[in-house]
Symmetry: C2
Subunit: 636 residues, 2 copies
């Protein structure tokens, strides 16, 4: 079959592909991530590329204007290679658009000891990490002590361990005789508990017990966050976040599931997520001079689709009635079975899920905020691509998912970026002059706007009278207000003052995305309370979670109608609660057992089956809401 | 590197090898098994081959006579290929010399239901096979029952199972969603208990539960015996035995362990044993029209060296002081991890061992004869290449190994063969005429002599006055008595009356081998009793085990001094007790648990460390013994 060379610019990266390969696939092969919300179906129109040279065949589409077509723009998914070609990928068509550090963001560079404790918890969870290393100095066998090599290790361990059932795999036994003798009977064993018994996953010569590391991960639809933890000192050595490269195959869960059903779809999605995970692992271990062989375990939390794709479990039936997962409780497996590259004997544990749209990220979130321990009624709102909402206390828990989209994660909005250095996270606007003040993460030059920045920005635009309740930018005469390609726009930072190559703006299309996201969350909360015959006043504490930076302005979030109008002291911002839950999982066996209890206790509530939901949603498509009586503090 | 073609005759089988490959290695590559007791060290002189054509380079050796050298004979292990060559392998240099059916022997062609019971046991063991298939008709999920696919299976099983902890591997989960739906929620799960929890090893569409098969194996140093069992009906569908192809690399355990330490030695030994196992599996399943995918488990008993080699665990330290195994208790693993080809999800369980020279064959033997349940003192004597002896009862058990060699397995003796069709198993000789009467297994034309036949033969030769107490054949004038290459010999069947291409004989070298074997066993028993300050009279029951046919004449065995002179009613012939134990293991969880108890209870007794042993051995190198007072019944 004839092969053609496709070169992508500005990277100047080439890749050889067969005839009729789409430009989208070719880009993926070249390691370049093109935006494609619909997963290559030619529906979203986001994967525009410029054909500079060469023979291609494009399917006609209404998603490109005549001017765009004339200038050489094509949709990457509908364009097939017919000969050698050169392709330019515009910034607007890229994923990882404005992220510093090659797609990564360091969230917490400082070394901190982790409190193994829920936010609202009363006591610490007992420390017992997912994998433990124990250094053994065995007595060598003699004529009066002829116990076999393996049972000698077991005997030694049984004197120390509470869970005495010990087992190991053949691969650890094969060279054991030589290993014990060449290491003078001094070895380090790595232990993991699974299915109630303690297993030796690895036996190493000498004392390696001082070096034992793990990772916790939150695998989100849009963002993957990982943290390197020293399992001995409980210190977090670094955190990185990166966009989930699966976004190339669709921006939301549904499009990913559809893509997984295409030929090689599953393999590509699996490859994309593990590549992201491996890059984060590589980045953090490299920086901390941790050898990959010293990483012995991974604790993962993520929504049900993400967990299925990570383990290459077909997600097909997650989106078919009656929407059941293949498995909610996933067995502890070897990390390499999921393509994750740590120590070859390293293990992977996944947080258990509840239902197709309430996954292990939600149970991990409940664990980390301690909602399951609360006496009084509490609410957990996780603002992500799937906005998950949990209502309950130690007696009961109900959870639902509100499809919010990735806008609050800085994806799918013109100047959006993840909460990392240079992201605008706080904004205020002078009412008359429209002078803008802002604060960026780590006070770096502004490069874009992150979720908390957008919440502040919308609140500020409303307050300054730039934005009306419907989400339209008023046609005011000001140098910051102008018409753009996606409707009227407001310039927050002009190019010259920014650390970016364009003005940092928000336009009406962005505002529409943000409005839909906040409406989905708010109406989810309302519908759920209504279904349970409860009112907002019954709620004592509201945990707000999400991949924002270090803060989220609750006032602003109420002002735009994202959060319900309740006394400020009832809100607790808990950050990435899924990652925090995975962190607890990594460090405490008690926490891991609690997760199982939580997953068994939570009842799934199907929002779309609730007749009131659509009505609530439509009513919430205003700033803050069509029914102002719900926002009494704003009436003043 | 240049490659040369070596062709072996009379098979006319060719193989391509690199320059300097030994003829022995080339033969192994061609699938032809040459005798080599020393494992290719050029010491035993058994691997004589005839170089018919071609360039070879031979190391000089005193093990070939000048006549042999002149006629073109060389030792295969000391001869290296220098060009294309043609090699004839004489019958005497072959393994599987006289075995019917391509190296296999069908021992029990009839279909019998197995009694799950020890010989001396009072009650049956509870039936619960190693792997069980359970057919499930699941209720499909609905809007009011949204349990995940995997937990749906668990729920269903938990209603039926006593051991509720259930787990499975990722590979069984991956395609589960599709499998359940395409099979209309009717599936068969295969369960195995390991480390105290029940595991699903396999999920198949539809009802396959009616077809569930297992194999039990006794892996001996010289002989491998396997049996196909229907795990549902408890019927044994067939038994086959074959010589262990590892014999090419040495006839006893020590030479195998040494060979394992050579480059690629371990791989070759592992390959040899698994090839043998796979051939037996293939032969029996083929004959019974059982698909390999329907075979879900294997229970193996074997000595410690055999188990180490089967699982590719280095056996190095088994023969170095203080002689400890790498592991006595081997984890239940996948059969394919040991290279055994059954269902890819099929599992392998090995009987636990006690020490380097008292292995899982002994614990299985104890289980099958029920020695561990006896109130009074009992003895188990397993007559094999390693003669194992167990003394004890329900209070205590002591075991030792007496290196007997393979003579009683029909190996290393001129006309020896395994107990299979055509093997002479009973012999009597008229005192004056020296007329020989014999009975062969399945009344086939005689092809050789098996273990029980040799015992009878020696007793008959003594009785007829042909053999003196020292093991020499008297120089009597008779057509059956003549001088041969290996000393004087006695012809049992002349070529014309046999089903074989030569006279069936026994010579003084054979008798010497048999004498050493019987002396090793007898003196082992004596030394052990002496060490425990017990006498023969204290023993209530003696279980005699070994790979003989259906019978063994106890009188003859006493007459030649193999067994102690005790009343005949105290002896029980139990056949291959290791295989019977493996059979119980395959069919009963209770038996599997008992095996663990037995292995923990048995104390190893090192015969070579016992000062009296050598003295006892030397005294036993007579027929029946130098001290006739030990054989009062023969004095008459």
């Amino acid at each position: 079959m004839s092969k053609f060379k496709v070169t992508f610019y500005p990277e100047n990266k080439s890749v050889e592909v067969t005839k009729d390969t789409s430009i989208l696939s070719a880009a993926i092969s070249a390691g370049i991530y093109i935006n494609s919300s619909c997963g290559g179906d030619g529906v979203c129109g986001r994967c525009k590329v410029l054909i500079k040279k060469g023979r291609v065949l494009s399917q006609s589409t209404g998603l490109l204007s005549e001017e765009e077509k004339d200038s050489g723009l094509r949709l990457a998914c509908l364009t097939k290679v017919q000969g050698d070609a050169e392709v330019e990928i515009p910034q607007e068509s890229r994923i990882d658009l404005q992220t510093a550090g090659g797609g990564y963001a360091e969230l917490n560079p400082q070394v901190e000891e982790i409190q193994i404790k829920a936010w609202a918890g009363e006591k610490d969870f007992a420390y017992l990490p997912l994998t433990r290393k124990i250094y053994l100095e065995l007595s060598p066998p003699g004529l009066d002590d002829k116990l076999s090599d393996l049972e000698r290790i077991y005997r030694h361990l049984k004197q120390r361990e509470k869970t005495p059932v010990l087992r190991t795999g053949i691969s650890n036994i094969r060279g054991l005789g030589e290993l014990l003798r060449s290491s003078d009977w001094k070895v380090t064993v790595t232990l993991v508990k699974r299915s109630g018994s303690t297993e030796i996953t690895m036996i190493e010569p000498g004392n390696t017990s001082k070096r034992n590391f793990g990772f916790c991960f939150d695998i989100g639809t849009t963002t993957i966050s990982g943290q390197l933890v020293d399992l001995n000192t409980k210190k977090q050595l670094g955190t990185k976040a990166a966009y989930n490269k699966q976004a190339t195959f669709g921006s939301d869960i549904i499009s990913r599931i559809i893509y997984a059903g295409k030929p090689e779809g599953m393999e590509k999605l699996h490859w994309a997520v593990t590549t992201g995970i491996n890059e984060i692992i590589h980045g953090l271990t490299d920086g901390e001079k941790v050898d990959l062989n010293e990483v012995t375990s991974i604790a993962c939390a993520g929504n049900t689709t993400m967990m299925h794709l990570l383990l290459r479990i077909a997600p097909t039936y997650l989106r078919r009635e009656p929407y059941v997962p293949t498995a909610n409780f996933l067995p502890v497996s070897r990390a390499i079975e999921a393509g994750i590259k740590i120590n070859p004997h390293g293990i992977l544990a996944c947080s258990p899920g509840v239902a197709s749209y309430v996954g292990g990220d939600v149970t991990a979130g409940i664990l980390s905020c301690g909602l399951d321990e609360k006496k009084k009624l509490s609410l957990l709102i996780d603002i992500g691509t799937n906005g998950e909402i949990v209502l309950g206390n130690r007696e009961f828990m109900v959870a639902c998912a509100a499809s919010a989209g990735p806008a609050f994660e800085g994806s799918g909005v013109t100047s959006g970026m993840r909460a990392s250095a240079g992201a605008i996270e706080e904004v205020s606007i002078q009412p008359d002059s429209f002078d803008v003040s802002y604060r960026t993460i780590r006070d770096a030059k502004p490069r874009g706007i992150c979720g908390s920045g957008y919440i502040d920005l919308l609140a500020a635009l409303l307050k300054a009278g730039v934005l009306d309740k419907d989400g339209k930018i008023k046609a005011l005469k000001h140098r910051r207000i102008r018409d753009g390609e996606s409707g009227r726009e407001f310039v927050i930072v002009f190019k010259d003052d920014s650390g970016w190559e364009a003005d940092i703006v928000v336009n009406e299309a962005d505002i529409d995305n943000l409005k839909r996201a906040k409406a989905a969350i708010y109406s989810g909360v309302s519908a759920m309370l209504r279904h349970m015959s409860l009112s907002l006043e019954d709620i004592e504490e509201i945990f707000i979670a999400g991949g924002f930076g270090t803060s989220l302005d609750i006032d602003s979030a109420v002002k735009i109608g994202l959060l319900p109008d309740l006394p400020k002291e009832r809100f607790i911002f808990v950050g990435n609660s899924s990652l925090s839950g995975a962190q607890l999982m990594l460090l405490s066996d008690e926490a891991r057992e609690k997760l199982v209890d939580i997953a068994n206790k939570v009842t799934y509530f199907e929002l779309s089956a609730e007749p009131a939901y659509m009505e609530e949603y439509m009513a919430a498509l205003f700033f803050p809401h069509t029914d102002l009586s719900k926002f009494p503090s704003l009436k003043k």
